[in-house]
């Protein structure tokens, strides 16, 4: 800095020290939160002020799912704030579906004393990674998409979920295929993620017991070209099972099938439920969430979501439900005159008993955190690309 005179250097040094001091003071005080509500959030009224954390794969390989989950969580917070006159803010943390990052984000949330409960994480492995620290911090966390069976065997006392487990979905779908579609042979392709392989291992024994010849393939989620795999479908294989997370990939698979004149029927699970993206007529989709556009009570939510964020699939509504449970728990604690804390919010969540919800069913949790009475919904896609619910 030879070009600066001595006085200039002193002034700059003082400014630098001053800036550091201010930054240091601000960050060492109560931990940072990010505001998603415009206007002044520093009103010192007696209203219900709290923060809710959101953990999801906002960037990374399944960013489309994480973004949808985040949008629905934000929607739930804004709608509940308006309805309950609370001041809840949503703090987002990006895990990229990686358990190591989920641990870091969880530590960040635990250190932030304003955060009273967490929505997420999305993946079952992430839940296993963060379950311990969350339990030790006494922080409730509700997942809208973690379906592994092992999560609710009692190891994670603060874990809840608003969707059913793999052990229900896999056999239910497999039995439907065996009893209603009667294939002689089928191809089942997993996408090399834990969610998919879990379902496949639940379904395979049922297919084998029914004497169906199974071709078990596996492609990574990053693959976008399925023409070589589609060419492998034999005329005998009348059903192709795709328990995938990304609907766009399945749509491409269906297109490749049409182009190579394969007539098999696609049977997909949750990820394929995406009325805007997956529209191969004649396909079946089994989903842990209902089609909220078909539920009259959800019309306002569906319209708001459509207007603000465009088309959505099945991963958003359960996260809405989870966030709503937390919002209601916080509101009930405030109404009882207490200051919301992690302990009383956890207790309130355990007592959750909603007679109806966005999922079209009542929400309450059993002692291990599972949703009571969780259902799966089976849809068939008509020739116009519309999803029609098959009554069970």
């Amino acid at each position: 800095m030879e070009a600066y005179p001595v006085k200039g250097r002193l002034v700059l040094a003082a400014a630098a020290v001053g800036a550091l001091a201010v930054a240091g003071c601000s960050s060492s005080s109560s931990s940072s939160t990010s505001s998603s509500a415009s206007g002044s959030a520093s009103a010192a009224t007696k209203s219900c002020v709290a923060s809710v954390g959101f953990e999801g794969p906002i960037t990374g390989p399944v960013a489309s799912l994480g973004a949808e989950q985040l949008h629905f969580a934000e929607l739930a917070v804004s709608m509940d704030n308006a309805a309950n006159h609370t001041q809840i803010t949503l703090v987002q943390g990006d895990t990229q579906l990686q358990p190591a990052q989920a641990t870091t984000v969880t530590q960040q949330f635990i250190s932030n004393s304003a955060i009273l409960a967490v929505v997420g994480p999305a993946g079952s492995q992430e839940v296993e990674a963060v379950g311990g620290p969350m339990g030790r911090a006494g922080m409730a966390f509700i997942s809208g998409s973690a379906t592994a069976v092992a999560l609710t065997t009692g190891s994670y006392p603060t874990f809840f979920r608003v969707v059913s487990k793999d052990s229900v979905q896999g056999p239910q779908d497999a039995n439907y295929i065996v009893n209603n579609l009667h294939p002689k042979a089928l191809m089942i392709v997993d996408d090399q993620e834990a969610y998919s392989t879990g379902l496949v291992s639940a379904m395979l024994p049922i297919f084998q017991a029914a004497g169906i010849k199974v071709d078990h393939e596996s492609v990574s989620q990053k693959v976008t070209d399925f023409s070589s795999l589609v060419a492998k479908i034999t005329p005998d294989e009348s059903v192709v099972v795709l328990p995938w997370q990304i609907a766009a990939n399945a749509q491409q698979f269906g297109r490749d099938m049409a182009q190579e004149h394969k007539t098999a029927v696609i049977f997909g699970t949750d990820g394929l439920f995406s009325p805007g993206t997956f529209t191969i007529s004649g396909s079946y989709v089994s989903s842990f969430g209902p089609d909220i556009t078909a539920i009259p009570a959800d019309a306002s939510i569906a319209q708001a979501a459509q207007a603000k964020y465009g088309s959505f699939g099945t991963f958003g509504p359960p996260v809405f439900a989870a966030t709503h449970v937390i919002d209601e728990a916080i509101a009930s604690v405030c109404k009882a005159g207490q200051t919301p804390s992690r302990a009383n919010v956890l207790a309130a969540i355990k007592q959750t008993n909603e007679s109806t919800s966005i999922l079209g069913q009542p929400i309450s949790f059993d002692s291990h955190g599972d949703l009571n009475g969780g259902k799966f919904f089976l849809f068939k896609i008509s020739s116009a690309g519309k999803y029609q619910l098959i009554p069970s």
Binding site: I58, T59, G60, P61, A63, S64, G66, A67, E68, V189, H216, E217, S218, V219, S220, K222, T224, D225, S227, S228, L229, A231, K232, I246, A247, A248, N249, Q251, Q252, R255, A258, Q259, E260, H261, T277, G310, S311
Partner: protein, 305 residues
């Protein structure tokens, strides 16, 4: 037997796509000895450009202009915009590092890759954008030989790819610019002393390579339909692999490398199992590299004393 040919057609088509991306990568490497990790993201930008052109003209189902015109606009616009982006990248990020140790531009390229990918995520959102090619190019408009179907999009990819590759080879071998490119690739300082405008040559190389990546992006969108911010990473990886396996710096090598990878993937998926496709293809490529250390068509590197 028809299964064999079907897999072969699929493999050659995807291989042609990989080759196009690998070409641009190889060109840039040949001239600058730079591993441009951001090359795959240029492919992604090209795919987005093509998508927005379709949307501009009414969306896939109701295209307002004839399809060949639409395709021409998509390709030209993608080539132009992505080429310009490549030139800007070079000017802004790589030129100051021309004399730095070779490993420094690597990190800049990685930084650019992060930047491009997350900018796309910011500007365009995380949801998949779908070309819906089947809406404006009917699925049944291909040719059918026996029970082997070749889609018209696949034919277009093959033809266009071939044309571009021949064009590029002609450009490098026969035109003055090509001669200058080869001179700069051989020895930059000597080329400068001979009066070649090195900055212009390097900028043209980047433009051409990036334009090829952009065109490949549009083709990828037409073939595979879905576009999102993360498709660049895999494309870049395949390009890098194809360029190196074919002999880095060599244009026919990049073409051959891409085809080899595409066909290998296709056959392994078809005949063995898709679960082990990547593993087996990697193993094959390692064997190829060990047998021919400078790639299939690369020049054997002489070590100067």
């Amino acid at each position: 037997m028809s299964f064999f040919f079907q897999e072969l057609v699929n493999g050659i088509t995807t291989g042609a796509l990989y080759s196009l991306v690998a070409l641009g990568f190889s060109m840039v490497y040949g001239v600058l000895k730079l591993l441009n990790f951001a090359h795959g993201d240029l492919y992604m930008v090209g795919a987005y450009v093509g998508f927005f052109v379709i949307q501009f003209f009414g969306g896939a189902a109701h295209v307002r202009i004839p399809v060949p015109l639409l395709l021409a606009i998509m390709f030209l616009l993608a080539a132009g915009l992505v080429g310009g982006l490549g030139v800007a990248m070079e000017r802004f990020a790589y030129r100051p590092l021309r004399d730095a140790p070779r490993i420094a531009p690597l990190i800049t390229a990685i930084g650019i890759s992060f930047f491009l990918e997350s900018s796309a995520l910011l500007l365009f959102g995380a949801q998949f954008r779908v070309y819906n090619t089947a809406e404006f190019i009917s699925l049944s408009s291909g040719i059918q030989i026996g029970s082997v179907t070749i889609d018209s999009v696949q034919i277009m990819v093959l033809v266009l790819g071939l044309v571009l590759m021949t064009g590029l080879q002609l450009l490098v071998k026969r035109t003055r610019l090509g001669r200058q490119m080869r001179a700069v690739a051989a020895d930059r300082e000597a080329a400068e002393m001979l009066g070649i405008n090195v900055n212009f040559v390097i900028a043209s190389t980047f433009f051409l390579g990036s334009a090829l990546a952009g065109i490949a992006g549009v083709m990828g969108g037409l073939l595979f339909n879905q576009v999102t911010a993360t498709i660049g990473f895999i494309a870049g990886l395949k390009a890098f692999t194809a360029a190196v396996v074919g002999g880095i710096g060599s244009i026919p090598g990049a073409m051959l490398g891409g085809l080899v990878i595409g066909v290998a993937e296709s056959f392994v998926t078809g005949y063995i199992s898709s679960t082990y496709t990547n593993l087996i293809v990697f193993g094959l490529l390692i064997v190829v590299m060990l047998v021919r250390p400078s790639g299939l068509l690369g020049q054997v590197q002489l070590q100067k004393v």
